[in-house]
């Protein structure tokens, strides 16, 4: 069946037409629909209130931009009997194969089900996974969730951010690139480019790997690196510094205090994510705002951080946290405690675009990451080749809002074939000088 048959024209949808139900969204007819699809457990209960739309197939793609990529994209495509398809992303760095298998494990939950019921399916995938979700299950749910929202928006004829009550700022979503510059000269050049392009924020990391306790020279080097960032980028650009959980709470505490005068926008992951009290210890020692959350799955995992009032900014990633549904909930929870949202995005373009939709609807949204530089590289060119527009490139310091219904793009399976799955590759494995394992 063609999409056109489901979507009635909106012309003249004024007073006379507006009480008619969308033909695809009406309850199921009593009889057999004629299509032979599995009926997932629990689905029949919703005959009186669900829609006629059913997911007819679920496909999952591993896509490696380079054969040795550590983060092959994991894309999920849901096909429906309404002629509408949805795309989502569940890329998990270093664990592509596991996520692909996990998406396939959810096949019985998804094929034959009603894609409009995204919250219901989210609950079922999470709760009925029994052990709850870590990053693998979280990323699989994320991919499926985004694809359902894409379908929902297309059927409801609105961009996802409008379904979520946005945009709060119709000019778009403020973003930042990574500052791939180390020398003073490079940083000054970057500042000039930023001013020309209207970019207002950058993020950078701290160099090297850190032991539990650090030497004077190592600490000095890290502090000087951050001072150089502020000097080079000037006083009017916001700077985030990613510690990437390389530092212990002990070392991070010293650093966050040293750099107070730099007025950084945030320091990210000053220690690993498992121990909220350790994070709190660091946060209590500095006026520098603390950001964390890219490795957390589901709103549940942010609860303690929010309840303890530890962090100022949450950075949950739409490809791991549980998609649009979960990222929106984290934002709602953070809002009640005055915490801002700056979601992480370092995977593919689908998750990037999906996160822009949620950002646009969050009043407590601060800034959106993309792991790109001011100059587009090979990755950004491929994204443009796939989607037909420069996805996740800022205009005037903001990511423009997609205007089409759903997530707002078309993608063909054919275009992905140029970048076949190169298999799972580990993320960086680094070691200290004595051979012991280091955080990267």
């Amino acid at each position: 069946m063609k999409r056109r048959q489901f979507i009635t024209t909106l012309a003249g949808a004024g007073v006379a037409g507006q009480l008619k139900l969308h033909p695809a969204l009406g309850a199921e007819p009593a009889g057999d629909s004629g299509v032979s699809l599995p009926s997932p457990l629990g689905a029949r209960a919703f005959r009186s209130v669900g829609s006629k739309v059913k997911i007819t197939n679920m496909k999952v793609f591993g896509v490696s931009l380079t054969p040795d990529s550590d983060r092959p994209y994991v894309f999920v495509k849901l096909e429906t009997n309404a002629g509408v398809v949805g795309w989502g992303e569940g890329t998990l760095e270093g664990k592509a194969g596991a996520v692909i298998e996990c998406v396939n494990d959810f096949r019985d939950f998804i094929v034959g089900s009603d894609p409009m019921q995204v919250e219901h399916h989210w609950q079922s995938m999470y709760v009925h996974s029994f052990y709850r979700a870590g990053p693998v299950i979280g990323s699989a749910i994320s991919g499926i969730d985004q694809a359902m929202w894409d379908i929902r928006g297309k059927l409801l004829d609105l961009p996802v951010y409008e379904l979520l009550g946005g945009p709060v700022d119709p000019r778009g979503v403020r973003g930042y690139y990574h500052a791939n510059a180390r020398s003073r000269e490079d940083l000054i050049r970057l500042r000039e480019t930023a001013h020309e392009q209207g970019i207002t924020c950058f993020k950078s990391g701290i160099p090297g790997y850190y032991e539990w306790i650090e030497t004077h020279s190592k600490i000095k080097q890290a502090v000087e690196g951050m001072e150089l960032l502020r000097e080079g980028l000037g006083p009017d650009i916001d700077i985030g510094v990613d510690f990437h959980a390389k530092t212990s709470p002990t070392v991070a505490s010293i650093l966050v205090k040293e750099v107070e005068p730099l007025n950084l926008l945030f320091i990210e992951e000053p220690c690993p994510p498992e121990n909220v009290k350790a994070m709190a210890r660091i946060a209590a020692r500095s006026t520098t705002p603390i950001a964390t959350g890219e490795r957390l799955v589901a709103a549940y995992s942010c609860r303690e951080l929010v309840a303890m009032g530890v962090v100022d900014i949450l950075q949950t990633d739409i490809n791991h946290v549980g998609g649009i549904t979960a990222l929106w909930k984290v934002g709602a929870m953070a809002e009640a405690s005055g915490i801002s949202m700056a979601p992480h995005a370092c995977e593919g373009p689908i998750g990037g675009l999906a996160t822009v939709h949620v950002d646009a609807a969050m009043p407590n949204f601060l800034v959106q990451e993309i792991c790109s530089g001011v100059q587009p590289a090979m990755k950004e060119k491929v994204w443009e080749e796939w989607l037909g527009f420069p996805a996740m490139r800022m205009v005037d310091g903001r990511f423009p809002l997609p205007e089409k219904p759903g997530l707002g793009f078309e993608l063909s399976e054919e275009s992905l074939k140029k970048y076949p799955f190169g298999g799972t590759r580990p993320m960086a494995r680094v070691f200290h000088r004595d051979g012991s394992v280091a955080e990267w």
């Binding site: 969308h22 209130v49 995204v118 919250e119 989210w122 929902r152 119709p170 926008l265 709602a332 005055g338």
Partner: protein
């Protein structure tokens, strides 16, 4: 450093940091909707219908929002003045009906209209999308919604009569008022009177009837604590507003002592208050007022309480348009438990509700309300009836 000073420093540092970051968030930037990019669904006008039930005197307001492209949406909230209403109109004209987060921010200073406007905007979005509001929000998580109705009466006999009437109307869960509260700390006689009231009602209603005890925020913490402990083996659904929510210390005591579930929220209009109650495990069911918060706001409160494994049962003491909104909300929430649905004692009041939104809007069968299935709110609002029952006091 003394502990007190340490925590003071921490608090002030935290506030300082939060302030710095929050200055840059979307909500605190200048609203840039001057020249909205979207040409569709722009709000072109608002009408206000204050209404009043003839016998009970229950008052609420209904808002009608119109768009330039001919869409209409209705929403209900608590009583509002015509001045508040005019101010809200000015704030909303030209805004796309989809931008409910912006409406929420603009109406922050007019809390009485937040809920009504939010529902009306979602009604418009649903009508545009040709789908029920719960489909816009994330799809149905349930196909029917448990209902609960407050019983009205002074004596136990009148409450039993009300119970029988409400049972015949399909309800299986009931909210019961306290015996008259004569003084603070009333002792054993009061506790026994409350117990007798609930036992008589259970006997009349049978095992499948369930009860919420309505403390209405009038008891002293001492009395609340005694009652909560007395009812532990009676298995109330919950004890609602056992005492005033002025600060957390008396509530800590009650919550720590009793396993009777505790509900709070009809006087709360800020998710931060729920955050405090949840953080300290002082609440078993969130009772945000539908009239004071609206669908979108309560969805955010529910997202918060979900992470504490705590359910939501919105407080509702308004009319049938509010009930319809509540059912869409209920359908959308994974952690919904029950919807309070007022059922006036007087036939004239019930007739008014049916005239406003149709008899189906508040239909309950075997304990569950039937979800609307039409676009938007899924009810047809009768404007003639809105005029007929106009609250002349506004």
């Amino acid at each position: 450093m003394p502990q007190a000073l340490k925590s003071k420093r921490f608090t002030s540092l935290l506030q300082d940091r939060r302030a710095r970051v929050s200055e840059q968030t979307q909500a605190n930037r200048t609203d840039s909707y001057g020249a909205a990019r979207s040409e569709k669904l722009k709000v072109s006008g608002i009408e206000h219908f204050p209404v009043k039930e003839p016998v009970s005197g229950r008052r609420y307001s209904v808002v009608k929002v119109l768009t330039e492209d001919g869409f209409v949406g209705f929403g209900e909230g608590g009583p509002a003045t015509s001045r508040e209403f005019a101010a809200a109109g000015e704030l909303l004209i030209g805004l796309p009906a989809t931008a409910s987060e912006v409406a929420r921010k603009r109406l922050a200073e007019i809390p009485s209209l937040k809920a009504a406007v939010n529902t009306a905007l979602l009604d418009i979005v649903g009508r545009f999308s040709k789908a029920p509001i719960y489909q816009v929000l994330g799809g149905p998580t349930r196909f029917k919604a448990r209902g609960m109705t407050p019983l009205i009466g002074e004596s136990n006999e009148s409450l039993i009569e009300a119970l029988n009437v409400a049972r015949n109307a399909g309800f299986r869960a009931f909210m019961v008022p306290l015996p008259t509260v004569a003084a603070r700390n009333q002792g054993r006689a009061f506790v026994l009177a409350a117990r007798k009231r609930l036992e008589q009602l259970r006997e009349a209603g049978g095992e499948e009837s369930d009860f919420v005890l309505d403390g209405a925020g009038v008891l002293s913490p001492g009395d609340a604590s005694s009652l909560a402990s007395e009812f532990e083996r009676f298995h109330l659904l919950w004890f609602d507003e056992p005492c005033q929510l002025t600060n957390l210390s008396p509530i800590r005591k009650i919550a720590a002592e009793t396993v009777t579930p505790i509900g709070f929220g009809r006087f709360v209009s800020n998710a931060g208050v729920f955050q405090d109650l949840l953080r300290e495990q002082l609440i078993d069911i969130l009772r945000p007022s539908l009239a004071g918060n609206g669908i979108s706001e309560i969805r955010k409160m529910a997202a918060l309480s979900e992470t504490y494994y705590v359910a939501v049962a919105p407080h509702h003491d308004g009319g049938p348009i509010g009930t319809a909104a509540a059912l869409h909300l209920a359908a959308s929430l994974p952690n919904f438990f029950v919807q309070q649905i007022p059922r006036p004692a007087a036939e004239a009041d019930r007739r008014m509700r049916a005239e406003l939104a149709g008899v189906a809007a508040e239909r309950v069968e075997d304990g569950y309300a039937i979800l609307p299935t039409g676009p938007g709110l899924g009810i047809s609002v009768n404007e003639e009836a809105l005029k007929k029952y106009r609250d002349s006091g506004v």
